[in-house]
Amino acid sequence: MAITDISHRKRFLAQGNVYLPHIAVIEKIIEETPGVRALHFNFKDEKLREEFTFESGQFGEFSVFGVGEAPFCISSSPTRRDRLEFAVQRAGKVTNALHRLGVGAEIGFRGPYGNSFPLDQLQDKNLVFVGGGIGLAPLRSLIWNVIDNRDKYGNIDIIYGARSPADLCFGYDLDTWDKDKGVNMITTVDRGDEGWTGRVGLVPHVLEQVAPATDNAVAIVCGPPIMIRFTFPVLAKLGFTPEQMLTTLEKRMKCGIGKCGRCNIGNLYVCRDGPVFTYAQIRGFVSSEY
């Protein structure tokens, strides 16, 4: 059987029913950009609050009761368990409802689902993070994870872009990373404004200019589909092999556990076998299915 065995991931099932969400409470809301907000949440159940664990790259199915469920990755790092965070871009029914919620509101959470970034394989490697827009959310979990274990990893390059300065998410993190001597932080926008003194240019172009070394390196890409599609060829041109390119994908998902059918790329289900893939795994389908 080609698909990954994920039976060991069966943790934290509510009453044995995988579709039953845990109740969680919104503890803090940060308006990141006009369309994106970060929500800090934690479980109502004391025991779960203590025991809950996850890995960078995993996601959950978040419910707004009466509206529906949607998948979002956990954007905080497992190394900082004082809080759980996820980020939501206003786009459809559930995301709009999440944007209407206030602190104290109850939501549902199922998860964590999916695989995670392969930390063991990233050890001692030089890491090149390439992110766009809200695509920084899953990378952010890994970036903090790596920074909190800084001596285990090589150089860290972060290339992050958004449409405009106002669309840059996690500005507070960008500042911190920028000041961190162990991190090479490059921020870019598609279009600048009066106050913008940084780089202007699309993420793939900037990546090409920055041209990070490929030796002992792994590139981790996340952003809107169109950015991902244009980033892979640039990485290839720079000399990254398909095995050296990681991405985390977003699809329409309903169940989150490989049953409802809609998130497949070839025989792989993004919810079940992903969301983290190497380019080698999906390249056969990437041009036509993603």
Partner: protein
């Protein structure tokens, strides 16, 4: 073909009695017509006229395990926040009478998905309490092609007992332990004679040859892989598809579902219902849709059944029941699509 010997028999006129007997232990479902639509429905306790007209159902028996819609749980908000309430599982024993091999095999295929890693409690609890009484198919439709999928009209691999129509009598053979046990505790069955066993063999042989539609499944997966990117081919194949959900919703092996919430007067329900990869919104995301074009959706349907499912579970997710062909409003025919795959090196 799996043949079982030492069978019992029952006269067709006594089927009513047999079903009544079984009704004491089980809720019995038999082929019935709801305004002309054939489906397995609760037996009314008397009518056995389906023996005269039954060929196969329109609504596949998967509907008994993965219903067109079901309540997953209810939720209500009170002072303490949201309270969730799961539907009580009925635990009642049920028996589906006269299921054909294609549909029983389809359940075994569905099992793989619903048992995989995370178990699906709704499907599996329904699966546990149902006994499948197979009826060998002696009159397959011209759209049937089960023999191309390693099966045949009398395949007993996934039923609990198997019935064979030998004219005035049905031969009854227990297949699983539960099936054998039921045969043993059923009164009024007679021993079948050797001649009748021989007759059954003839019926099976004849039925096998009545299935004439064929596909070559030999290296179908690699063929599909090699022409996955052949846009011209898929566009041509998909041209007449109207993107309705008939072939998928009524497919006994299709399991895709949608989950949605409803809130009426503070009482909330989370539903799940059948969904189809033929619908554009099935994969639609706010910014883009990976399967906006019709040919991509048709390709997904074909490849999922014949390429991806075998990659994941080692079995083709199609049992050749032919529903997708005979119910299609435009006669889109999966066997034609598979048989006309361009040869690639």
């Amino acid at each position: 073909m799996r043949l079982i010997n030492n069978s019992k028999k029952v006269n067709k006129r006594k089927i009513g009695k047999l079903l009544s007997q079984w009704s004491e232990e089980f809720t019995v479902f038999v082929p019935s017509k709801e305004n002309g639509v054939v489906m397995m429905a609760r037996w009314d306790g008397t009518d056995t006229s389906f023996l005269d007209w039954y060929r196969n159902t329109v609504l596949p028996p998967k509907a008994h395990f993965l219903p067109p819609m079901e309540e997953m749980f209810r939720f209500q908000k009170d002072k303490g926040g949201y309270q969730l309430e799961q539907p009580a599982s009925d635990g009642q024993k049920q028996l589906i009478f006269a299921i054909h091999s294609c549909d029983a095999n389809a359940l075994a295929i569905l099992d793989m998905t619903f048992k995989d890693a995370y178990e699906d409690p709704y499907y599996l609890s329904r699966r546990k309490n149902k006994l499948l009484v197979g009826l060998g198919c002696t009159n397959p439709y011209d759209s049937c092609f089960c023999t191309s999928l390693g099966s045949d009209p009398f395949d007993a691999a996934n039923v609990d007992l198997m019935l064979t129509d030998i004219g005035d009598e049905f031969l009854i053979e227990g297949v699983t332990d539960a099936g054998k046990q039921l045969v043993a505790q059923t009164s009024g069955l007679e021993e079948a004679t050797e001649a009748e066993d021989a007759r059954a063999k003839e019926v099976k042989e004849a039925s096998y040859h009545k299935v004439t539609r064929r596909i070559d499944t030999g290296d179908i997966g690699s063929k599909l892989l090699s022409c996955f990117e052949d846009e011209d081919y898929w566009e041509k194949v998909a041209a007449k598809c109207i993107s309705c959900g008939i072939c998928t919703l009524l497919c006994p092996t299709c399991y895709c579902f949608d989950i949605s919430d409803e809130l009426v007067k503070q009482q909330g329900t989370r539903f799940r219902c059948w969904d189809s990869c033929a619908f554009p919104i099935y994969t639609k995301m706010p910014m883009e849709n990976p399967r906006e074009e019709k040919w991509r959706r048709v390709r997904q349907k074909v490849c999922h059944k014949y390429e991806f499912y075998p990659m994941n579970f080692g079995i083709i997710a199609c049992t050749g029941c032919g529903r997708c062909i005979r119910l299609c409003p435009v006669n889109w025919d999966i066997t034609q699509a598979l048989n006309s795959l361009p040869a690639k090196i």
